[in-house]
Amino acid sequence: MADYQTQISCRDLRLGYEGRTVTEGLTFEVNRGDYLCVVGENGAGKSTLIKALLGLNPPLSGEIAFPGGLKAAAIGYLPQHNAVQKDFPASVKEIVLSGCLGKGGFQPFYTREQKALAERQMERLGITEIKSRCYRELSGGQRQRVLLARALCATEEILLLDEPVAGLDPKVTKEMYEIIDSLNKSGVTVIMVSHDISAAVRYASHILHLGPTPLFFGPKSSYVKTDIGKMFTDYAGGDDK
């Protein structure tokens, strides 16, 4: 039964690029409904871990398994902004719809079900009114909602969020965290990579703290009691966001 609940199980991963190890000895599990927050310094391997989970950059050694029957190709991914998107002419609707593509195999046009799914996800994230607007003219918060809606079109099982609040102002950051929290409460498993440890501790159910060797993995309640957890949470408490 426990196995069925486990969506992602990583055993003794060694991650890196072109033979250069970034982090090793990484073992953790993600269960259905979890809210896992991955924290760590720059260069600790957060983005490498994302690429490995998505199957874009396979681990140097170790194993990533999806016991619940989840496919690597079925993770809803919210990437960081890339340079191409800054001047890309695309409407909100076009972008959200493109989330439906992964499932179809060869399929030249969107089906009625896929269009309905896109409408539903836009409704869910409150972007229906702006669906004809151009993506590059939106505010940072609106863009993130669009990309979240796209990710939800790909799957409602599990979301992988790469720095979802980077570059957002405090008010929008809070809104974004609340959206993610409500998605998690509605049954979506969330893996979030973030610098923001105070938010991680507030919202997440589990914490993975990365370093050259993993510094911590476990439920949030134990994280805040560890030395490293204390160090960061005290620090974060100091400038209370």
Partner: protein, 306 residues
């Protein structure tokens, strides 16, 4: 000093006298129009419009991917291959030119992934390398009596579009149909892969396969377009329509449709104008593209203010 000024003044007068030859007196128009009954003019129009359509479809993707220069690089490689084919004495140069260009396109996009060292430098190197080598080979080894004429027409297309054989035209038609079909069938995936390759591959679209597909199609179009505008001006066909459309339109679909319309209409205008005023086809099309770009820039400015 005053002599130089007089000289300049005379030159300017000459230029204006030249420009007045661009004017077609109304009584000559029927004679010019009768040109269109000749099969070679019709073939040029059909092939030209199809090539313009294909290159504009791909142009949107290439420009957005920051691959605008790939067209330029590949066309120079195609020029190099063309000279080799000529010197070796192949009757149909396509047999060599097409595979070489396709292969280069695939390799370029493959290395594009880990472009830490290479990137634009490798493209520049390849581009001028092929151009230089091609010119060298042509000069040294060609048996033709008119080497500089050959080079000029390969580089600028001069009138070769007007000398297309029936076979050339049908080849153009067939290739264009394939390109258009592929583009329509994979339109959504091409959008997704262009907008966000990481997301696309994370959710199960094989982004690499689509990049390779784009590369192959690009190479095919470039080889075809060499007949139309010559290898130096191909980038114009790829870049201008997309950029013009992006000045005004805000969604991917409208940009694609608009750039196709711009490209086809400026190719038609260019080919017709070149017949009327006797200018080289390729450069006339490019001038038409530039005018379109200016017009669309102005419309875009007005639209964003209003």
């Amino acid at each position: 000093m005053s002599e130089t000024l007089t000289q300049i003044w005379q030159n300017l007068q000459n230029i204006f006298a030249q420009l007045s030859t661009l004017y077609i007196p109304p009584e000559e128009i029927p004679a010019k129009l009768s040109m269109f009954q000749y099969p070679f003019v019709q073939r040029a129009l059909i092939a030209g419009l199809l090539i313009a359509l294909c290159s504009s479809l791909l142009g949107v993707t290439l420009v957005l991917k920051r691959f605008s220069f790939i067209g330029d690089g590949l066309s120079h490689v195609a020029f190099g291959a063309m000279t080799v084919a000529t010197v070796v004495g192949l009757t149909n140069e396509m047999i060599l030119v097409l595979p070489v260009t396709v292969l280069t396109a695939v390799l370029l996009l493959k290395t594009g992934k880990n472009r830490k060292i290479m990137g634009d430098a490798s493209l520049a190197m390849l581009s001028v390398g092929a151009l230089g080598l091609g010119y060298f080979i042509m000069n040294k080894l060609s048996t033709s009596a008119n080497v500089s004429g050959d080079v000029c027409s390969t580089l600028f297309g001069s009138t070769s579009i007007l000398t297309l054989s029936k076979f050339d035209m049908w080849l153009c038609v067939a290739m264009s149909m394939i390109v258009i079909t592929v583009f329509v069938l994979f339109y959504n995936k091409i959008f997704s892969v262009t907008f966000d390759p990481d997301f696309a591959s994370a959710t199960g679209t094989r982004a690499n396969a689509y990049n390779t597909l784009t590369a192959v199609i690009t190479a095919v179009i470039i080889v075809l377009a060499m007949n139309l505008v010559g290898s130096l001006l191909i980038s114009a066909l790829v870049v201008f329509p997309a950029l013009s459309a992006m000045r005004v339109f805000r969604s991917f679909k409208s940009v694609v449709v608009c750039s196709a319309a711009i490209s086809v209409s400026s190719a038609a205008a260019g080919i017709i104008a070149s017949i009327f005023i006797g200018t080289p086809v390729g450069s006339t099309i490019v001038v038409a593209q530039i005018l379109m770009f200016v017009i669309f820039s102005i419309i875009g400015k007005i639209k964003s203010k209003g």
